[in-house]
């Protein structure tokens, strides 16, 4: 099966500019996650979708970050305006269901991520 697709692979922008990331999950996966991974740390959840509804966005900086998942498939994550501390890898993941931890039989599958550098 095709994996989780993300684009772009790299992005360099200046602070206060805007940027958008795109994610296409594995076909049939109802749950989609965006994680932020700052250098030297583990991924941290930004937002979780179940189909096209938001399940958890408690750690999303809503004053500058936004995300949507139209038609319950592809998703975009936007940052406007970007700050220096937004420099990180943005990982998209998907799973079949939303049971705890993705569940034993439905683990999270990750894309290759987008490395964002804000100068």
């Amino acid at each position: 099966e095709a994996g989780v697709a993300q684009s772009p692979r790299y992005k360099i922008i200046e602070k206060r500019q805007s940027v958008a990331f795109w994610c296409n999950p594995i076909s049939g996966h109802a749950t989609l996650y965006w994680y932020q991974q700052i250098l030297g740390q583990g991924p941290k959840l930004l937002i979780q979708f179940q189909n096209n509804g938001v399940v958890d966005d408690s750690q999303l900086p809503k004053d500058r970050f936004s995300a949507e998942r139209l038609k319950g498939v592809d998703s975009t994550l936007k940052i406007q305006p970007a700050k220096l501390e937004d420099s990180a890898v943005y990982l998209c993941a998907s799973s079949l269901g939303a049971k705890p931890g993705g569940s034993y039989n439905s683990p999270l599958h990750f894309g290759n991520g987008t490395r964002l550098t804000v100068t």
Binding site: T31, Y33, G42, L45, V55, D56, L91, G101, G102, P107
Partner: protein, 116 residues
């Protein structure tokens, strides 16, 4: 709240030898899952192995096995016959039962180097 702690920022192993990566966690749940993910330079997080807490037997996947000690809340990863391709960041992960179900909480990771 669930927490995941990886106390070894970096580890090194000689090719063909065995290495163990440590992970401890804290939870009030009685039944749960635990995961180890590998992140090579390609940045893709790859599931290495998973364990259900109620299962007494430690999980094994080829050269990868876990030492799960529920009472001690310890979940270490053992890599046997290490290969150059095992060099990567390794993350221990635990489900976020306190928040929305489905997402994972990750430790800070252990960078594994494999020497030829």
């Amino acid at each position: 709240a669930q927490t995941v702690t990886q106390s070894q920022p970096e580890m090194s192993v000689q090719e063909a030898e065995t290495v163990t990566l440590s992970c401890t966690y804290d939870t009030s749940e009685s039944d749960y899952y635990l995961f180890w993910y590998k992140q090579p330079p390609s940045r893709q997080m790859i599931l290495v192995i998973r364990q259900e807490a109620y299962k007494q037997q430690n999980a094994t996947e080829n050269r990868f096995s876990v030492n799960f000690q529920k009472a001690a809340k310890s979940f270490s990863l053992k890599i046997s016959d290490s290969q150059l391709g095992d060099a990567a960041m390794y993350f221990c992960a635990f489900p976020n039962y306190g928040g929305s179900q489905g997402n994972l909480i990750f430790g800070k990771g252990t960078k594994l180097s494999v020497k030829p």
